[in-house]
């Protein structure tokens, strides 16, 4: 748990400032993360990064305004109206209420002012995540570092190191002690400086046929100033590979455990998820379903003091390998949350948001239309694409959020209680949608609604809580994993029987 050497305070970024080229050094350093390269200011930001910076620096108005000036149209558009901007920040940063409070009240790290909170209820005391996983976008992806958006990172002089947070035990503690005056970037820099090695995250042996591009490879792609991320679009990233997905498994999880600080949230979870199947995770509150779900696209990286051990193989690749870029992970593995959380923007812009930020190529109108058609929303909104998404019903909003997640063409959709805020008709609509979507993608859904799991899923995993030391330590474990029909007609384990028949939980 010993922190690594504390780096010199990073220079504050001034978005839009001309930067000398140093891509080569960056790349080198990224390949050698242990070197802890101190690559101070001077990273040139790609245009898209500049916009992200502008966007994420919303808290400090002065800086923000400068950023807007420098960052161009996208930032300006995002900034149209303080409340909206904050709203979006809240959504995009994707951190839960608790952590959000923490950030706002103590450090004003991101937003500087109390903004709209994300209304997820607590889940075992762990902050829930907002939108981040929905796109797997760079800016959010690298919010890996809790409050530090990706684009900020290179400018921190730390960009060379893109190690995920699961190695950053203690990051939050350091953030807590940071002085507001130091500025959020420095705070983050410090936080990231204190990385420690952790458990025994395995490496996928021989992942030559990489489903996710290696970090280095991504670098090659996005490092190109001219093409700023262009080639990372779905065509480039998996146009060819998708045809060659081998095997019937999408995820293979081996002995996955998650610690939040001292507390072990889940233990020994070994589940395989079938390709183009719907897998439901059910169980009583606090049994770690959502925690486990978040392991599947490294969303737990975003929670400080979190340690993930065990192995998560995604198409045979170790998701937590050093070589894997969490940005790519979240791009391929989208997420939809409990409460519909569209941006206060037009329907069109909501769907186009992800593709724009990752710099997807192609006709944006077509991308938007395709995503909306896939979500069975097109007929309802095709004449109102410029209407504000907030004018939609809850069910429509949730389908819009799914469309938004689908717009970047993910391979897997993780759904964390996607219908719990919806009425039965809308719920039915979403469930039908899931069934249609599974022709092309794999879905893992966490639900409190057992009937929903029963209705939509092909396989069901039942989690429960094991108590140790009285009731002091509650750890989630998997009790039974089987075909959904089996779980609901002839479960093997008595605890499953008791749960599905409503005798407990």
């Amino acid at each position: 748990m010993a922190p690594a050497g504390r780096p010199a305070p990073a220079e504050r970024i001034r978005p839009g400032r001309a930067s000398p080229p140093c891509a080569g050094a960056c790349r080198r350093a990224r390949r050698e993360p242990a070197s802890g390269a101190q690559h101070a200011a001077g990273h040139h930001l790609k245009p898209v990064d500049q916009r992200r910076v502008a966007f994420f620096r919303g808290g400090d108005d002065g800086v923000f305004q400068r950023a807007v000036a420098a960052g161009g149209a996208e930032a300006a558009r995002l900034a149209d109206g303080g409340d909206q901007r904050l709203d979006q920040c809240a959504g995009l940063i994707g951190i839960g209420e608790q952590h959000f409070d923490h950030l706002i009240d103590r450090h004003r790290v991101m937003l500087g002012v109390p903004a709209v909170k994300i209304g997820h209820h607590g889940d075992g005391g762990v902050a829930k995540l907002g939108l981040a996983g929905q796109f797997g976008l760079g800016h959010i992806g690298h919010a890996d570092h809790v409050a530090v958006p990706a684009a900020v990172e290179p400018a921190l002089g730390q960009g060379a190191e893109l190690r995920p947070l699961h190695r950053q035990v203690g990051a939050a503690a350091h953030m807590r002690h940071a002085q507001a005056g130091q500025g959020r970037l420095q705070v983050a820099a410090q936080a990231r400086a204190h990385r420690v090695g952790h458990g025994h995250m395995g490496h996928a042996a021989g992942a030559e046929k990489a489903f996710l591009p290696r970090k280095g490879a991504v670098d090659e792609l996005v490092g190109d100033d001219e093409g700023a991320g262009r080639q990372v679009g779905p065509q480039a990233a998996h146009g060819a590979e998708r045809q060659h997905i081998g095997g019937a498994q999408c995820f293979e999880c081996r002995d996955v455990g998650v610690h939040y600080g001292e507390h072990q949230a889940i233990r020994g979870v070994s589940l395989d998820f079938g390709l183009r199947e719907i897998t439901a995770l059910i169980g009583p509150s606090g049994c770690g379903k959502s925690t486990f779900l978040r392991c599947l696209n490294r969303m737990n990286d975003l929670i400080p003091n979190t340690r993930v051990d065990g192995q998560v193989l995604y198409h045979g690749q170790d998701l937590y390998s050093e070589e894997i870029d969490p940005v790519q992970v979240r791009k391929r593995i989208g997420m939809v949350f409990q409460k519909p959380n569209p941006f206060p923007k037009s329907v069109y812009d909501n769907v186009a948001f992800g593709p724009r930020v990752v710099g997807m190529e192609g006709d944006m109108d077509e991308i938007v239309e395709r995503a909306l058609i896939r979500c069975a929303l097109w007929e309802e909104v095709k004449d109102r694409l410029d209407a504000n998404a907030f004018g939609m019903s809850g069910g429509q909003q949730q389908r819009l959020c799914i469309a938004r997640a689908l717009a970047t063409d993910p391979d897997v959709l993780l759904m964390d209680e996607p219908c719990s805020a919806l009425d039965p008709i809308s719920t039915g609509r979403i469930e039908d949608l899931m069934t249609e979507l599974k022709e092309r993608i794999s879905i893992v859904i966490v639900t409190h609604n057992m009937q929903q799991a029963a209705r939509v899923s092909d396989k069901t995993a039942f989690f429960t809580v094991e108590m140790a030391d009285g009731e002091k330590h509650r750890t989630g474990v998997v009790v039974e994993y089987a075909d959904t029909t089996t779980i609901f007609t002839k479960p093997r384990d008595e605890r499953t029987e008791d749960y599905v028949t409503g005798k407990f939980g």
């Binding site: 019903s393 429509q396 039908d432």
Partner: protein, 239 residues
């Protein structure tokens, strides 16, 4: 101008509805298998065709398999989809209907197994053979009508099954009486006795079809009532 809200009348839970439709289709196909078995059994009976009889016995596995498959499907829908109202009645009725289907298949097997019992070239009675043929056709017709009524949820057609079954019952009794009077030839009497058993099997198939009709009426009306009481004869529709 807001966004038009979703139309609540658009059908949904499509997969569930598909699944119910599939189970119904599978059941009707099961009855097709039954009719094929019945045709073969009757032909084997008429021509003392042992090979064909064996085929009927072997083929019954398909009907049994169909029974198990639909049974599993219905249980799965109960567990997963929480069916209510008409869906619930239909699925509950299906459990009965497939049991009747499976029993009909078994009766065809029973008929087929009687064929070797009656010997290779037994003396036969043309009157009994003719009545059996008539009975077979009547039973076949009843099963067809039950399928049709099930497919179209036609309560009237379902109730009519009991009336038609009366003819089958009458033929069954007639065959029994004829067997009593068939003569003194021991072998002929043995054959005639065996044919009464076959007639009994056919009569049971007819009863099963009537039971299917009762289930159809239950699906449609939500009330279960027997069309015919074994001890009181068929109930007229005015009751």
């Amino acid at each position: 101008m807001g966004i038009p809200s979703e139309d609540p009348m658009t059908p949904h839970r499509l997969l569930y509805q598909d699944e119910i439709a599939r189970l119904q289709r599978d059941t009707l196909e099961g009855f097709d298998l039954v009719i094929a078995a019945l045709d073969r059994a009757l032909e084997a009976l008429a021509h003392q065709d042992l090979e064909l009889a064996e085929l009927v016995v072997a083929d019954d596995d398909r009907i049994d398999g169909r029974y198990l498959q639909i049974h599993q499907g219905v249980l799965s829908l109960f567990a997963r989809q929480a069916p209510v109202a008409t869906d619930l009645r239909l699925l509950a009725a299906l459990l009965h209907v497939i049991r009747n289907m499976e029993r009909m298949g078994d009766q065809c097997v029973n008929i087929s197994k009687l064929i070797p019992v009656s010997g290779e070239k037994p003396p036969t009675d043309p009157q009994i053979l003719s009545m059996l043929e008539e009975m077979g056709l009547a039973v076949r017709e009843i099963v067809r009508q039950a399928m049709k009524a099930f497919e179209t949820r036609d309560e009237t057609m379902a109730a009519d099954l009991a009336e038609r079954d009366q003819k089958v019952n009458d033929l069954n009794r007639a065959i029994f009486r004829r067997a009593l009077e068939v003569g003194n030839d021991l072998e002929l009497r043995e054959w005639a006795m065996t044919m009464t058993l076959a007639a009994r099997c056919l009569e049971r198939v007819g009863d099963n079809a009537v039971d299917v009709g009762e289930q159809i009426a239950f699906v449609v009306t939500g009330v279960f009532r027997e069309f015919a009481d074994a001890s009181h004869g068929p109930v007229s529709k005015s009751e």
